[in-house]
Symmetry: C2
Subunit: 118 residues, 2 copies
Amino acid sequence: MLFTHMVEPQKSNRLNTVLKAASDPTRRAILTLLAQQGPLRVTDIARRFEMSLNSISKHIKVLEGSGLVTRRTEWREHLIEVNMAPLSEIDQWFAELRSIWALRLDALDAALKEDHND
Amino acid sequence: MLFTHMVEPQKSNRLNTVLKAASDPTRRAILTLLAQQGPLRVTDIARRFEMSLNSISKHIKVLEGSGLVTRRTEWREHLIEVNMAPLSEIDQWFAELRSIWALRLDALDAALKEDHND
DNA sequence: ACATGATTCACCCAACTGGTTGACTGAACT
DNA sequence: AGTTCAGTCAACCAGTTGGGTGAATCATGT
């Protein structure tokens, strides 16, 4: 059986965007900053980095696309807030992978015991 | 204070490589396959995908570089095995981020209560 | 009306990625 | 000696990514 397209596409896509978003150090730093400072404006975030405002704006859009961050536009200021929920999607995938792995080991163990009993 | 280069570089690099490695669907599928089937040869892995052996070989090298997979070269066959350990690095980062977030909320809560008591 | 401030949009560019093919190495079986 | 099998290396291509600049938008304050 081929492995490509074996997972439910929408779930896999969400995993993809979240992991991709999280796999950039600048974006992780933004998340940390937001976690400890609470909602911030784009400009305030950009000030913390030695990088152009525009680049930060782009990074924020990526984070927003992954759901790791939400935007509350109040008048002309965009308040950016961290959102931990999507992380659990990754947690879940890890758990799944680990359980698959553990299951195989259990089966192996059982087979060995069976063998020994013969 | 600027946020760039605020984290210990080697730890951040490991996080980077692990997250990057995990953020490709083909590579995640390889990990799942290995978790449920146990150690496999490169060719056996490649057979499961509609993709060239070379591409799979490259993906495996990326996974190997992140530590998510180890290689045991027996005679001319390379046995590839999944290794869950690096995942905990990501777990750890999640936990850290969540606790930073929770801490801020607690502080906020305390401040509100203090305010109320005045 | 006009300037200012906060953000995004539209490009541009260099670097990286994911995939391909073809040539290569090294061991094993005729 | 020649062939086959397992796998990597090297070069290449198209698409994406991370960064930058300058103009555009849009609401407020003067």
